[in-house]
């Protein structure tokens, strides 16, 4: 029983991280059909910012956290402006390849300008201490991560339901031109989407750094690969789908770790991706595929 509770908590915190990143991918995709693989490098920028701030002798963790999140937001906005705006109206494949190109450039820039090797960033270790709940031992980090994700989701829902810009973003996922015909500037809606994705990437960066304690050029690539899969399973472009997919992926991964014999532990990814492929064959559009129609014609 304790074992089950413990593994469930593990699954939740894994899933929270994927959901957080997946939401960032989904919110951009829902509005401009862009699969933003450079999201991983936005996370990495968060990590590098923490590294730089630590070396500049910033001690206050709150300031470091704010700095990292802010850097991620600025980075996301910057990428939109210089790389993704020119392909805004292109097809999804063009956008995907552009994003891969941007990701490649940034990873190698980190490598060139900072270091190819991991650099220790210990300023987030304070988030991680063991907690005993009766017979169960968990880490505070897992709780923080799950809570932060839930709060982020809640705030995002509030924003999307209550604010004009949020409503416009939901509308734009269906019919962007009609949103412009309401007099709402396209650039504003898209910038908002990127800012939110940057914010979520920044939060993710904090937890990734807190767990790994080091930053390297590929810091964000693998998490984004997983989050991307979460999006796909949930239904690309659907925000609830991204969250569902994230938690499902977390559960799958922990499930694989528990069920697979020790010697197969390394094959976890293969099994997870295979299950994902099967889900996609069953539902090619994902579990919660978003509505597609552009208003009714007749």
């Amino acid at each position: 029983m304790d074992y089950i509770v413990q593994q469930t908590l593990n699954a939740l915190s894994f899933g929270a991280e994927y959901a957080l990143i997946a939401l960032g991918l989904a919110i951009v995709f829902s509005i401009m059909n862009l699969v933003n693989f450079a999201h991983g490098e936005v996370i990495a920028i968060g990590g590098y910012t923490m590294m730089v701030m630590a070396t500049l002798a910033f001690k206050n963790p709150i300031i470091i956290i704010l700095g990292a999140v802010l850097a991620a937001i600025i980075m996301a906005l910057f990428l939109e402006r210089i790389a993704f705006r020119p392909v805004r109206y292109a097809d999804a494949t063009t956008g995907l390849l552009t994003a891969f190109g941007v990701s490649l450039i940034l990873q190698n820039l980190f490598l060139l300008l900072v270091s190819p090797r991991p650099i220790a960033v210990t300023s987030m270790y304070f988030l991680d201490w063991p907690i005993r709940l009766g017979p169960i031992q968990i880490s505070s980090l897992q709780i923080f991560e799950t809570l932060a994700t839930l709060i982020a989701i809640l705030l995002l829902v509030l924003f999307l339901k209550k604010s004009l810009l949020g409503i416009a973003m939901r509308a734009a996922s269906l019919d962007f031109e009609m949103v412009r015909l309401m007099g709402i500037r396209a650039n504003r809606v898209i910038a908002a989407a990127f800012a939110i994705s940057g914010l979520l990437a920044g939060i993710a960066a904090i937890f990734i750094i807190a767990r790994r304690g080091a930053v390297d050029p590929t810091l964000g690539f693998n998490p984004v690969l997983k989050a991307f899969v979460a999006c796909v399973v949930g239904g690309f472009g659907s925000l609830p789908g991204a969250v569902l997919g994230g938690f499902l992926l977390g559960a799958l991964e922990v499930g694989m770790l528990v069920l697979l014999p020790q010697s197969y532990g390394g094959m976890k990814d293969a099994f997870v991706f295979a299950i994902i492929a099967i889900i996609l064959v069953w539902r090619p559009e994902g579990i919660l595929s978003p509505p597609k129609e552009k208003g009714d014609k007749i």
Partner: protein, 250 residues
């Protein structure tokens, strides 16, 4: 052809929208060929013509969602180079073809987003409530997704949404398309009311009979050219032409 310039001359001072030498392109294909027309303040002007005549292309070019050349003057300002959003802010609003309600937003949110450019939040909220009172069915579904509405209800919502921005001119693109006759009548009654309240309207319609009843002045388009224009009476007098193009029996 001799009548038009005289009429235009007499309207010159109060033209709200003036389109000259307008051509519309889809890629390299030209679908509207150098047409001229204008809409006087407080009047209802209809663009009529068969399918594929270029009516929707024309109306879309006024808001800048298709690429065009020529001059488009609104309130004596050349708007032809402006972004769509700026044109909307100047006071042009559209109820587009196929309605295009935001089917994933609630009825209320559709109206709310319609008022996006307004600063007077309180007055806008009251106006939303007024619309909901006008159409009780919309009030009933206030918090339901607009996609669940019927075609006629969606059309009412679309027009109300377009009006939420307090436009100076309202563009209506095929408001009766695909609606049952009874609903069509309701839609045209609504347009009649708006006209009576002094709203300037540019109406695109295939249903020429109803449109001619409403319009003060009409332009007939065919294959991207204006082939005739005049008051409803004059149009109806051109019998043969009309019956071939619009199916209206003179």
């Amino acid at each position: 052809m001799t009548v038009v310039p005289l009429v235009l001359l007499s309207l010159q001072k109060t033209n709200m929208l003036e389109v000259k030498n307008l051509s519309v392109f889809y890629g390299r294909i030209k679908v509207v060929h150098s047409i001229d027309f204008s809409v006087k303040k407080g009047s209802c002007v209809a663009l009529l013509g068969p399918n594929g005549a270029g009516k929707t292309s024309t109306i879309s070019s006024i808001l800048g969602t298709v690429s065009s050349s020529g001059s488009i003057r609104f309130l004596d300002k050349d708007i032809s180079k402006m972004h769509t959003e700026e044109r909307v802010k100047l006071g042009i609003s559209i109820a587009p073809e196929g309605r295009r309600v935001f089917s994933n937003l609630s009825v209320f949110e559709n109206l709310f987003i319609g008022s996006a450019i307004r600063e007077d939040r309180k007055a806008a909220d009251e106006e939303i409530n007024a619309w909901l009172k006008t159409f009780p069915i919309l009030d009933e579904r206030r918090d339901q997704a607009a996609g669940t509405l019927s075609g006629g209800e969606q059309q009412m919502l679309t027009i109300a949404r377009a009006l939420m921005s307090r436009p100076k001119i309202l563009l209506l693109d095929e408001p009766s398309l695909g609606l049952a006759p009874r609903i069509t009548r309701q839609v045209f009654e609504l347009i009649q009311d708006l006209k009576a309240q002094g709203m300037t309207i540019l109406l695109v319609e295939q249903n020429a009979t109803e449109a001619l009843k409403l319009a003060d002045f009409s332009f007939i388009l065919n294959s991207g050219n204006v082939i005739a224009s005049g008051s409803s009476e004059e149009i109806l007098n051109k019998g043969d032409l009309m019956s071939s193009l619009t199916g209206v029996e003179a």
